[in-house]
Amino acid sequence: MSAVTDAVRTTAPGNPVAQSIRDSLVVAKRNLIRMVRIPEVVIFGLIQPIMFVVLFSYVFGGSMNIGGSTDALVYREFLMAGIFAQTVTFATAGAGAGIAEDMHKGLIDRFRSLPMARGAVLTGRTLADLVQTALTLLVLAVVALLVGWRTHSSVGEVLGAFALLLLSGYAFTWIGAVIGLSVRTPEAATSGGLVWLFPVTFVSNAFVDSGNMTPWLRHIADWNPFSATVQACRGLFGNPGVSTSGAWPMQHPVWASLIYSVLIIAFFRTLAVRKYRSAAA
């Protein structure tokens, strides 16, 4: 069976880490091409947070009490960290739906029959989503500046906040990957990927001062991983309404956000890769 062994030898893998990176980039490129060819997805992904900015700013602004002020402009500055953080978490649904669609169409079977790195299909997808998230944040920041949002800190701190947001969004896409691999249809992944985000983003300090919540709800909000990212960004932007809560994540929000993101990636990536290995459409 010499033909067989020859074929095996000529395509034998090199360094597994290098292979993993290469495969992930090949898959990421594929997903980025799709984004360019289906711009609707990116555009709707942009419209939603812009709508949130406009609606929250003009409907809630003026009736919200942030650190003793009900000035609409104060609320607008307070709000933006929350909207940014919410936007990056919504990338979850896109990742989930994309992976569920690949399963549905038999593409995951094809990938799984190829001698490629096991996690590369998922890593490639999450990396492509990260690019989309970065793009969305950029446009959203411009819109925010137009409606009056300003930062009051150094360029380094502002960039640090965006880096934290991207990391947090990347972590959330791994949750989406697990959802996408767990459901039967892309439609289920879309709705299933969004439903749980509402409590996570609303029971938090994103849109209201969590100091005004009932104590038990406030505890949840203070320890919510999502709140840590919001609090960290608010602080780094120099925006008003930074929580004075004594909870550890509120006192050390940058660290808390980093730790939460790393833990989420470690746990959900492991789970997702395991699910991928036994995936059946």
């Binding site: 067989v4 095996v8 893998p13 292979q19 090949v26 038999g106 094809r110 990938f111 001698p115 059946a280």
Partner: protein, 343 residues
């Protein structure tokens, strides 16, 4: 020496359903095995186990000399799989799809590019190479899918119902492609619901039902098992069916595997297994004539794989196409879509 594909006692259960109930297979290098069976028989599950997509509960499998359970990655480097769906990214062009698959087979980017161009040419997709697969017809997508499975010219190929859902013209065309491929020495395991397809493409045929291989051999061997020839008579007058049947029954072969006399009322056709060839045929014609039974057609024919399937399983293999072709046979046990044999 075991064949390029070798399986022993593969068992896979999904909950209460025993999808594979001890599948044994052996495909010598350079030959084509047709896995023939109705929906739910276990064909797709067998392919999924052999291509590392699914881990069997027990049993062993060797593909291209490599243990599927112990060395799955090495197996993946030696196989090409074309599944039940055309698994191509519809938002990528044909060329982009093939390049991506090549790179994921660990080919250098340049080699993947060259190979993609070759395949596009070979599969008559060069003109459509830079259009997204979304714009392709069903037959074109199938060809692209097959091309993707052939990127590294794997020594062993698996095709799961490659022509399901294709119109006759595209089916013929794909058969041509498959024949060409096999003449190059590739070992192929192909599943199909179409007896004609297995007859046409496969050296050996394994008939699968309820998760087991119930018969294996060449098309001729399987047909021989079902008895020799058959006489088919089409009477002119519906009222003569009964009399013609009584007459034919006299000549009918009895015994195991011979099959029964069958009547297809709507076609006024009576078929019975016989032995005796042309001489017997002449005698039957004389007898029919002397009884005043007018006939439209009479002939001797060798058994088809339909006859084989019927005599082996007690049900006809002809299956109506699933509405969307999506019915996977992994969990679809128990329901049969075959029409009942008309006795």
């Amino acid at each position: 020496m075991p064949g390029a594909i070798h399986a022993e006692g593969l068992v896979k259960t999904f909950g209460d359903v025993r999808a594979l109930d001890g599948v044994d297979l052996d495909v010598p290098e350079g030959t084509v095995l047709g896995l023939l069976g109705p929906n739910g028989a276990g064909k797709t599950t067998t392919v999924r186990c052999l291509t590392t997509l699914l881990r069997p509960d027990s049993g062993k499998a060797v593909v291209a000399g490599l243990d599927v359970l112990e060395q799955p990655d090495a197996v993946r480097r030696s196989i090409g799989l074309s599944g039940q769906f055309a698994a191509v990214d519809e938002y990528l062009t044909g060329r982009e799809n093939l390049r991506m698959v090549g790179q994921l087979y660990q080919m250098p980017a340049k080699a993947a590019k060259v190979r993609a161009d070759e395949l596009l040419e070979q599969f008559h997709l060069a003109d459509a190479a830079d259009r997204t697969a979304k714009t392709y017809s069903g037959g074109m997508r199938r060809r692209l899918d097959l091309a993707a499975a052939l990127v590294v010219s794997p020594p062993v190929m698996f095709m799961d119902e490659p022509t399901t859902g294709l119109d006759p013209r595209n089916r013929q065309q794909l058969w041509g492609v498959i024949k060409q491929l096999v003449s190059g020495g590739t070992t192929l395991l192909l599943t199909t619901q179409y007896l004609e397809e297995a007859d046409h493409l496969a050296h050996d045929i394994a008939v699968v039902d309820h998760g087991r291989v119930i018969a294996q051999g060449t098309s001729d061997q399987l047909k021989a098992r079902t008895g020799g020839e058959r006489v088919e008579v089409v009477v002119h007058d519906r009222e003569h069916i009964r009399a013609a049947r009584a007459l034919l029954d006299k000549y009918s072969l009895r015994g195991p595997g011979a099959g029964d006399t069958t009547v297809e009322d709507h076609m006024r056709k009576i078929t019975t297994p016989v032995s005796g060839g042309a001489k017997l045929l002449a005698e039957i014609i004389r007898e029919l004539d002397s009884r005043g039974i007018e006939i439209d057609d009479i002939g001797l024919r060798r058994p088809t794989l339909d006859d084989v399937f019927l005599s082996l399983t007690g049900h006809v293999a002809e299956i109506k196409d699933e509405d969307d072709g999506a019915a996977r046979d992994t969990a679809g046990h128990g329901h049969r879509h075959g029409k009942e044999a008309v006795k």
